[in-house]
């Protein structure tokens, strides 16, 4: 792949995001915010699947922990910095504890264990009514101002919060790009390609699987934390394993073996859903057909296929 592609794509995407609210209506801005959330969520998920070779069905659990922790913080201490940081941190800590148990297994056993832990988080949220509001969830979450170093920045309007999300997403994407191109990222890919060989170059495989799991958990938590002030309400739906499918499908659509795959996949997923929902209640059926077509005809997802056409792989 030529060197100019990545910076150009990054600058192009950022430029579009920055001018978007001046060009389109608030509904499209809202949809874009959904895309940004899913992009962060899928990017973290794909560090596990595409880069480390671990398929998790439980990422919604960490998303929900991020969302609930952020909501609870904002309801008591209305400062967005605390809310987001708290949500990310909470998800990271839970990912560390559950990941410690999950990385003992691989492949389908790992996937089943993440599914179980994800649903365990769902049950806890569902039952722990005093804290989580049970099936009613938490409501009235304020889009609290961003208070840093004595400055107080208002983000209560949708467009204000939109720009906040664009900045956070840009930083998250940039950081992930650094990670996957760093020695740590190379180590994840080595573990993915051959855990045995990785062990025999001296890599403690389980420990690095755990690191990948924690980073994925932090990104899920970040996406969840950003959701709470956007929707102003969080419900247990976000912890359900069906919601774990969204980053999986987005990554598959875009392509799991490219950095941009989950990002492009997030755009496609929200786009397809939005269009299909207008014509049919069975939009999942439509999504399923698209996925089957992709798997059969476009191995490596959209980004992977385009790269192959351009001989950039």
């Amino acid at each position: 792949m030529p060197r100019w592609v990545t910076p150009l794509a990054a600058i192009g995407a950022l430029a579009v995001l920055l001018v978007l609210p001046y060009v389109v209506g608030s509904f499209t801005v809202y949809l874009t915010m959904e895309i940004l959330l899913l992009a962060i969520f899928a990017l973290g998920f794909n560090l596990l699947l595409g880069y480390t070779g671990l398929l998790s069905f439980g990422q919604a659990g960490f998303f929900a922990i991020g969302a609930y922790a952020c909501a609870l913080i904002l309801l008591t201490a209305p400062n967005l910095v605390f809310g987001i940081a708290g949500g990310v941190l909470a998800a990271g800590v839970v990912a560390l504890v559950l990941g410690f148990l999950c990385v003992r297994l691989t492949e389908i056993y790992f996937a089943m264990l993440t599914l179980s832990f994800g649903m365990m988080i769902h049950s806890v949220i569902w039952r722990w009514r005093d804290v989580t509001g049970g099936d009613d969830g938490l409501t009235g979450i304020p889009r609290a101002p961003l208070e840093v170093l004595g400055l107080s920045i208002e983000v209560s309007a949708l467009w204000q919060y939109y720009y906040f999300m664009v900045i956070v997403t840009a930083v998250a994407v940039w950081l992930m790009h650094r990670i996957v191109n760093s020695p740590l990222g190379l180590t994840f890919q080595a573990v993915r390609d051959s855990a045995v060989r990785a062990g025999f170059v001296g890599i403690p495989v389980r420990r690095f699987r755990l690191w990948a799991f924690v980073i994925a958990g932090l990104y899920s938590g970040l996406a969840g934390a950003l959701l709470a002030p956007l929707e102003r309400t969080v419900t247990p739906v976000y912890a359900h394993w069906l919601f774990s499918a969204e980053p999986i499908l987005a990554s598959l659509l875009g392509g799991i073996h490219t950095f941009a795959g989950p990002l492009v996949g997030a755009v496609l997923f929200i786009g397809i859903k939005e269009v299909a929902v207008r014509y049919t209640d069975y939009w999942m059926l439509f999504m399923g057909i698209v996925i089957i077509a992709l798997v059969l005809g476009f191995r490596g997802g959209i980004v992977g296929t385009i790269q192959r056409w351009l001989r950039w792989d």
């Binding site: 060989r197 062990g199 001296g202």
Partner: protein, 248 residues
Amino acid sequence: MGEPLTVEGVTKRFGDMVAVDAVDLHIEPGPLTGIIGPNGAGKTTLVHLLTGHLQPDAGRIRLGNRDVTRLEPHDRVRKGLSRTFQVVDIFTGLTVFQNVQMARITRAGGNLRFFRRAAPEHADEVERALNEVGLWEFRERKGEQLSHGQQRRLELAITLATEPELCFLDEPTSGVSPHERDQMVELIRDLAGQRHTTFVLIEHDMELIFDLCERVVVMHRGAVLADGTPADIRENDEVKEIYLGEEA
């Protein structure tokens, strides 16, 4: 140079089958050692046990004075023990360059660095290592795009990049063309001459073992049948019977 590897009464069973039966073995640093034996003699299982790929049911393995019997592979690699596999095992999705670089980064303890670019790390060392095995020109290719013989040499380069004191090569010429086989033999001869690494070669190709090794260990039905110089082994009647006789 490194420390001796001492194996005492190491045993491995798979169900009723005793794959490795109370093997005692002492490997001194220095001489190139070959382990031969017919198929199913337990050669590969023994190497699996010595390198930590499998856990023995009984016995002890010591490197110098340290007991390494229960250590995981990555810990043994740090103590200077590494290996190649009978079925080639490389990082297929990484480039040839990255394959060797991964070993260098790990050796230097740099795996956790997440904020710097990996690309320039240890570039000189990787270049030297790839030149040594004749793969520098293929550095941009992915591991999976190499020929089988090239993959074998890459695996050797990865293994050597961990700077082992003791290195097991499990059938390094299996499945490669005759030309590549000769290349590999020369390469092993050169490496054994230059390096501070003791190589242990596992083979069923006896000609190759007799050609390269200073010491030959013969395994049969999970046990060590004979142990000596190539000349001793050639003259050993038991060996002739079970092994040489079979091929003649």
